[in-house]
């Protein structure tokens, strides 16, 4: 036994509806000086665990020990008073306020006195090793700096245990590196850090302790040193998944040209470089992965391909187009809650959102509900969407199941092209694997697939060809067998290699 842990959970159980426990008898210890990763599938109970620690939920049984003494967190205010801070996945900052105003807002009166001048705040931030401009308006800051403000909020409230919920999904690789440097620093100062994440490489590289939760149960809590990626995956999913080898592809791809984008320009914005002279050719039966650090024109590329945005110059041609000129394509948008799904329409209509207006679903201007129900149920079964009925809304489904709906619709389109933007964002390993496999199968059956993603591992595993976006330009168009180092260099430096386009 080392030192006494700062916070302990003892036999915590929680259920939101009778008979369906979200957490079952979880006992965990969080020690000063450690970076403690909590991993598990979507819906395994990780967020609930954090919410219980932070006082947003009360456990049904069991309790929280703070340095060995029983405490009850009735609300986040209690947790903050007990020196627990939380950095939420979706930041809780007032976007129109400055950094200094946000920090003063969250500080209790005695501490607020010390934050009167911006210079004081700058000095305190500096002392924690988190320099930030106190007079900057939060909405103008990049997400990584906004996260820094969130961390400062916790530190200013004298947090000794900081909880991070999915802190790295919004960050690019360089920012992820510096985020963990900050975590190490916080831990080195004698604080405890808890990180909930899906990214196992980050866990193995940065955490000191890892706890796996599967379907509400604690599978194990061990030091990271002894763990490997594959045995973590086995613990998380309950079976083996091969996450490293490429996904099986059909031989002899590259059919006819389905889509050709030529010299497209889109004006840059504050948060993105836009597109400059970007060209792309897509053949039937192949997967083109678009790699690059987020903000280098990915959003614009998706919007141009999806027909949401007219390029300032350049052309876009496709073999099949809609009557209104958009490329006929099945779309998997980045934001599945606002772009992929209509969360308040039933699952059946969401599955058929691209075709409910055509026969047999509409005849003589009237919806044929029976046809819709049959087709939706069929699609649901084939896509393995786990829900008790297709007549409820997708709002309550897990992220993985929601994404299955979006994907089923995109692949069910007659369109020969599929455009997927960050298709596995926020999904756990098993769900990600399933999404990638389905996209691969679609390509094997002759669809032309574009995957725009900032996750280089998944791009390298699934693509036939990798296109690298850097600062709005196509910095490279290389075969999937290209080494990670070369692609990484293209992503960050944009240097053109010999295999590049003319």
């Amino acid at each position: 036994m080392k030192t006494r842990p700062y916070v302990e959970l003892t036999g915590v159980s929680k259920s939101f509806s009778p008979g369906h426990p979200v957490l079952e008898n979880i006992s965990l210890a969080f020690r000063r000086g450690e970076i403690h990763a909590v991993v598990g599938e979507n819906g395994a109970g990780k967020s609930t665990l954090l919410n219980i620690l932070f006082g947003m939920h009360q456990p049904d049984t069991g309790g929280i020990l703070l340095e060995g003494r029983q405490v009850i967190h009735k609300s986040p205010a209690d947790a903050i008073a007990n020196r627990i801070g939380m950095v939420h996945q979706h930041f809780k900052l007032v976007a129109s306020f400055t950094v200094a105003e946000n920090l003063r807002l969250c500080a209790p009166p005695p501490i607020r006195k010390m934050l009167r001048r911006d210079a004081d705040i700058a000095r305190i931030a500096e002392s924690y090793g988190l320099p930030v401009d106190p007079s900057a308006v939060v909405s103008t800051l990049p997400l990584s700096l906004q996260q820094r403000v969130e961390i400062l909020k916790a530190l200013i409230n004298k947090a000794e245990l900081i909880l991070f919920d999915e802190p790295t999904t919004i960050l690019n690789p360089a920012e992820i590196g510096s985020f963990y440097a900050v975590c190490r620093q916080i831990a080195a100062q004698g604080r405890a850090v808890v990180v909930v994440t899906h990214h196992l490489e980050e866990v193995l590289a940065n955490a000191t302790q890892v706890s796996v939760i599967r379907r509400g149960r604690l599978i194990g809590s061990t030091p990271v040193g002894k763990r490997t990626r594959s045995d973590l995956v086995r613990d998380i999913v309950g079976r083996d998944i091969d996450l490293t080898s490429p996904i099986a592809r059909a031989a002899g791809h590259s059919g006819q040209i389905e889509l050709r984008m030529d010299c497209v320009d889109v004006a840059p914005t504050e948060s993105s470089s836009g597109l400059r002279d970007a060209s792309l050719i897509l053949h039937a039966g192949e997967i083109v992965g678009v790699a690059g650090v987020e903000g280098n024109g990915q959003r614009e590329l998706f919007e141009v391909l999806a027909g949401l945005r007219k390029p300032n110059s350049g052309t876009l041609e496709a073999r099949m187009v809609h009557p209104d000129g958009r490329v006929a394509a099945g779309l998997v948008p980045e934001d599945r809650h606002h772009e992929g799904l209509v969360l308040d329409l039933p699952i059946s209509l969401n599955l058929l959102l691209n075709r409910f207006g055509k026969p047999p679903f509409t005849r003589h201007g009237r919806l044929i509900h029976s046809e819709i129900a049959v087709a939706a149920e069929d699609l649901r079964a084939r896509a393995d969407v786990r829900t008790r009925s297709v007549n409820i809304t997708p709002r309550t489904l897990s992220g993985g199941n929601q994404q299955k709906i979006v994907l089923a619709r995109a692949l069910n389109d007659e369109a020969p092209v599929v455009i997927a933007y960050q298709p596995t964002r926020g999904l756990d390993v098993a769900a990600s694997q399933e999404v990638l496999t389905r996209l691969r199968h679609a390509a094997n059956r002759g669809k032309a697939v574009v995957i725009i993603s900032s996750n280089l591992d998944e791009i390298m595993r699934i693509s036939d060809r990798i296109v690298v976006l850097f600062s709005g330009q196509i910095a490279g168009d290389v075969p999937a067998s290209t080494s990670r180092e070369v692609i990484g260099e293209l992503m960050t430096l944009g240097a053109r290699t010999g295999t590049d386009r003319p």
Binding site: M56, K92, V342, G357, G365, N391, T393
Partner: protein
């Protein structure tokens, strides 16, 4: 603020039309609604007690005034009609994500649109005048609804402000017309000439005020329900209202759907004005609408943005109107009580929805 939270809360529940509307009535929502209406009647009666009136006696007078006789029921339905139509107008626009606060103005324009052919065309046209007047009313209302939609799409003008302000233009346009161009030369009253018999909505039940507009309103409610839940157009309209970005990615024409929804919305509100002129007043009168447009918005929200719910709540509003009129004539209690009793359930339901909203989605949540 209250209306927004009401809408977010309810929008999750309406998914598949009549059956789910019935289900919602049977479920906990109905209990909530009934409690809200019940307690507002109770508070109304408590106020009566405070005024020194026997509340049980007053309750029976009110009930008799609203449902006690053929005539009372007819009055209730006649009071319901313009409010149901403005409620349907608000509902169609809100379902498409367009905050139409201009039903009042569209109703005023509908009344103008109805009075023009009814009084200016030769009476010899006979019963042709009636459909012409109603259609012209719908057209005027639709144009009044089109303007804010076009301004929003073309220049990004905020629809809440535009529709709200256009109400005043409509109200003062009516005032101007009945004091000038439409005022008969031998009259000093602020009203137009009486419409000819051919333009009047027929009375369905002799000895009562029950006119054919009541049926028209109920038919329109059924039509709105059918369009929303049984046509692809309705699904598109709802999809745009619920998630414009997702709808746009599926190629749905946002601008066309918004314009369409506002034409329908304005048209229905315009019919509301036309029905009031052709079935109740028989002339255009300054101030003929006692805030029907705003009642309609409240009714639409209280009825969970469902056509069926709007009918039920509109009948409540009609019953309160006729019931308190009876109170006024027999016990000389001010009719302002009607305003109180009609608005209390809104406050109660807003509180309940707000409470649930906070309970269901705590402000501090990591999973959103």
């Amino acid at each position: 603020m209250t209306s927004i939270s009401t809408r977010q809360e309810t929008s999750a529940s309406h998914t598949s039309g009549f059956r789910s509307a019935l289900g919602a009535v049977a479920g906990s929502n109905a209990v909530l609604v009934l409690t809200a209406f019940g307690s507002s009647i109770a508070i109304g009666l408590a106020i009566l007690l405070f005024l020194g009136v026997d509340p049980l006696g007053a309750l029976s007078v009110m009930f008799d005034g609203a449902f006690g006789s053929k005539r009372a029921i007819a009055d209730t339905l006649v009071f319901m009609t313009p409010r149901l139509l403005t409620a349907l107008a608000a509902l169609v626009a809100l379902r498409c994500g367009f905050f139409n606060l201009g039903a009042e103005g569209q109703l005023q324009l509908g009344a103008i649109g109805a009075i023009l052919p009814a009084t200016l065309l030769p009476p010899s046209l006979g019963y042709l005048l009636l459909p012409l007047s109603i259609l012209c009313g719908a057209l005027f209302g639709a144009i009044w609804g089109l303007i804010p939609a076009v301004l929003k799409l073309w220049r990004g003008a905020d629809e809440i402000i535009v529709t709200l302000m256009m109400n005043f233009i409509g109200i003062y346009l009516v005032k101007h017309l009945v004091q000038g161009p439409l005022q008969p030369p031998d009259s000093d009253f602020n009203m137009s000439a009486k419409i000819p018999d051919g333009a009047a909505l027929p009375i369905l039940l002799s000895g009562t005020r029950l006119h054919a507009g009541v049926v028209l309103a109920l038919v329109l409610a059924a039509a709105v329900w059918f369009v929303l839940y049984h046509t692809p157009y309705g699904v598109r309209l709802r999809a745009v209202g619920l998630s414009p970005r997702a709808a746009r990615l599926q190629g749905m024409p946002l601008a066309r759907l918004t314009v369409g929804a506002m034409l329908i919305s304005g048209g229905i509100a315009g019919i509301g004005g036309a029905v009031e002129v052709l079935g109740v007043q028989y002339r255009l009168i300054d101030g003929f609408s006692s805030h029907f447009g705003f009642d309609g918005l409240a009714i639409a929200l209280l009825g969970s943005l469902e056509p069926f719910g709007a009918v039920v709540v509109a009948i409540y509003f009609g019953a309160i109107n006729s019931g308190t009129l009876a109170l006024q004539s027999t016990l000389s209690i001010p009719a302002a009580l009607a305003q109180i009793m009609a608005s209390l359930p809104i406050i109660f339901l807003a509180c309940a929805h707000g409470y649930r909203f906070l309970k269901g989605r705590p402000l501090w949540s990591s999973t959103r």
